[in-house]
């Protein structure tokens, strides 16, 4: 009788185990601790290239989109989902490292870029990168020493099929999508996506699915956001609360502060110089500029690569005030002389709760810039803000109404033919305004208009009222 009871208990346990595992395997309901190893979130703010943080941490997408049978969701790196967001990025990076570094066991197929429509109609996550990454730089940042696949030139986006674990690299310039298939490619992305869908995220639509002529395939807008609101923010310059001397000391670490020369210019900016080779200027608005006077702008045939430039720039920022949270490389400009790199401008951006920040100085919408000339830092500019939430809510206008307002401006007031107007991109941002500290930051829509007319460029519209706050002139 006792043996029978033990048998029954064992059988009951087996049933319970089958329920748990069936739930996990078939229904994607992850339970931390079983297959999904719980992971402590690492504090990655302020430093990107510290020994504890891998280089790939500043390889971040502009947009992270979840495609699910024709439904789309833009996943923002908000505090409540940051663990899932980071996990998706990490899994994707691991898949990229496995696929690009593998010497065997990978099948690769090539499609034309139109294939992305099919991928979006399926079950994929899509990481749109801020700019087309040079393939070699991309693999270098990922730490893939000798990438096997040499036919790829640029990477504009990365997609992962979260049911089949296939990996896709999009090269728009050459009109290719590369598909990587292997039984070795594995990820937990499907479980992460399931968690996101449990939280009932907003639905988005790609406008190119409706009208390819007028909207590029980057334009993704939320629908049914009539009841959605965002907080107004307030911002303080990062230098607020610090004396100019202490900021200068951070730059001139090897100098005695008493030996530095300082002047105040006509606009009230404070300039410090060591009298030999370098100087910094601290403005009232929070702009901090560093210049190395000795580095000449002409090419001196010093050999340095794009990888060196990224390393030099990132290490320089790390040692001089560091990176704000959720920073990433937003663009890279290169100049060559006789096919040799001699100048490189690397820009970094950061986001607040997944939303990019546009500073009061519109021309410096990438808040951190480092210019490398002949392998040395020539110039470094940054205007970083410490952001706080206010109690004021802003109700957002339907983005289709925002587009209507802009098209009316272009068509009715500027007499531009509707057929000539093409919307290249559209995304939410926070725009800073105001003179007094703290300044305010309000939610805005940024719309990038493409076309062969002088009014093409970036427009900024108040997300609450639809008023055009900035337009090209």
């Amino acid at each position: 009788m006792k043996l029978e009871r033990i048998k029954s208990a064992v059988l009951f346990c087996l049933v319970l185990i089958s329920i748990v595992l069936t739930t996990q395997i078939w229904l994607n309901m992850p339970i931390e601790g079983i297959f999904i190893i719980s992971k402590k979130t690492e504090e990655t703010s302020n430093f990107l290239l510290t020994p504890n943080v891998e280089k790939a941490s500043f390889l971040k997408p502009n947009k992270l989109i979840i495609n699910n049978n024709g439904n789309h969701t833009l996943l923002l790196n908000k505090t409540e989902v940051s663990m899932i967001y980071e996990r998706i990025l990490e899994d994707t990076k691991n898949m990229l490292i496995a696929a690009l570094g593998a010497t065997e066991g990978i099948e690769i197929e090539k499609y034309e870029c139109d294939y992305i429509q099919k991928l979006r109609a399926g079950q994929t996550i899509e990481l749109q990168l801020p700019f087309p990454y040079d393939y070699k730089l991309f693999t270098y940042i990922l730490g893939v020493e000798s990438p096997k696949w040499q036919g790829i030139e640029h990477i504009d986006a990365v997609l992962v099929g979260y049911y089949n674990n296939n990996l896709y690299l999009v090269d728009k310039e050459n009109n290719y999508i590369f598909e990587f298939k292997s039984k070795f490619l594995k990820s937990n992305v499907r479980a992460m996506v399931d968690m996101i869908y449990n939280s009932k995220p907003y639905s988005y639509i790609f406008l190119s699915e409706v009208d390819q002529e007028r909207y590029s395939d980057n334009v993704l807008i939320p629908v049914n956001i009539a009841d959605h609101s965002m907080w107004k923010l307030s911002a303080y310059p990062e230098s607020y609360g610090y004396t100019p001397e202490s900021i200068a000391a951070a730059f001139f670490k090897d100098k005695d502060p008493s030996t530095l020369r300082s002047i105040i210019d006509s606009e009230g900016n404070i300039v410090y110089t060591d009298g030999e080779k370098q100087g910094i200027r601290i403005s009232k608005t929070g702009l901090i500029e560093y210049v190395n006077y000795q580095t000449k702008l002409e090419s001196n045939n010093s050999k340095f690569t794009l990888f060196d430039a990224v390393n030099i720039a990132t290490n320089f920022v790390n040692s001089n005030l560091g990176f704000p949270k959720d920073s990433y490389i937003s663009s890279i400009e290169q100049e060559t002389v006789n096919n040799e790199l001699y100048r490189c401008l690397i820009r970094y951006n950061y986001r607040y709760e997944g939303i990019p920040i546009i500073n009061d100085d519109i021309n410096m919408d990438n808040p951190i810039e480092v210019e490398i000339v002949n392998g040395e830092v020539k110039r470094y500019r940054r205007i970083v803000k410490n952001i706080r939430i206010t109690e004021e809510e802003k109700i957002l206008k339907n983005p289709l109404e925002i587009i209507d307002i802009l098209l009316m401006r272009l068509n009715h007031y500027k007499n531009i033919d509707m057929k000539d107007i093409r919307i290249e991109d559209m995304y939410m941002s926070y725009l800073e305004y105001g003179i007094d500290i703290p300044t305010s930051m309000i939610p805005v829509w940024v719309v990038e208009i493409e076309g062969d007319f002088k009014d093409a460029g970036k427009y900024i519209l108040n997300a609450e009222s639809g008023v055009i706050l900035y337009e090209p002139y």
Binding site: R5, S8, I19, W26, M29, Q123, S203, R214, V223
Partner: protein
């Protein structure tokens, strides 16, 4: 009900096999996408879709194109099915069910005026089972699609609850 241990063993063994089999079938069926949701184009037309679209998302994105000024009405209906017809559609899943059967129940209706963008879009909720979406313009044209939403999680929850709810798992 109080189970005798020899019957309990049979019950548990059968449930073990059933859980694995049913949830596999449900999941494979639900993951498959038969047709993409079309773009409702009131300018160039839409190819007709004559069979229900198998769908596994509780939100459905409706998008389309029309001339500026057109008023578009999006209406959705859910098909209320007979009690106890199948294990999937059995009415305990749907709290607001009443006794009537085979009826289309209005779920959502909203009007949109198309602006200069020439685009309209909405996200509408769908319920497990058959759903009908009607997109009509004030010019008299309309499109209709049928969607069969299979919520694999609800189905499995239902299977589990039906199996174990009334079972007193006390050993004798």
């Amino acid at each position: 009900m109080r189970l005798h241990h020899k019957y309990m063993k049979y019950l548990l063994t059968i449930s073990l096999v059933l859980v694995i089999m049913i949830s596999s079938i449900v999941n494979v069926h639900a993951v498959r996408l038969e047709n993409a949701i079309p773009v409702f184009d009131f300018i160039n037309g839409v190819e007709e879709i004559d069979k229900p679209i198998i769908y596994n998302n509780r939100e459905l994105s409706i998008k389309g194109k029309a001339l500026e000024g057109t008023v578009i009405t999006i209406t959705t209906y859910w098909h209320q099915v007979d009690k106890g017809k199948t294990i999937i559609s059995k009415n305990k899943l749907y709290e607001e069910d009443i006794l009537s059967t085979g009826e289309w129940i209005l779920q959502y209706s909203e009007e949109f005026q198309v602006g200069l963008s020439g685009i309209f879009g909405a996200s509408v909720p769908v319920k497990p089972g058959k759903n009908k979406v009607v997109i009509a313009s004030d010019t008299g044209e309309s499109y209709e699609i049928e969607i069969e939403y299979i919520d694999n999680r609800k189905i499995t929850e239902k299977i589990f609850s039906d199996m174990f709810d009334k079972v007193d798992l006390k050993f004798e």
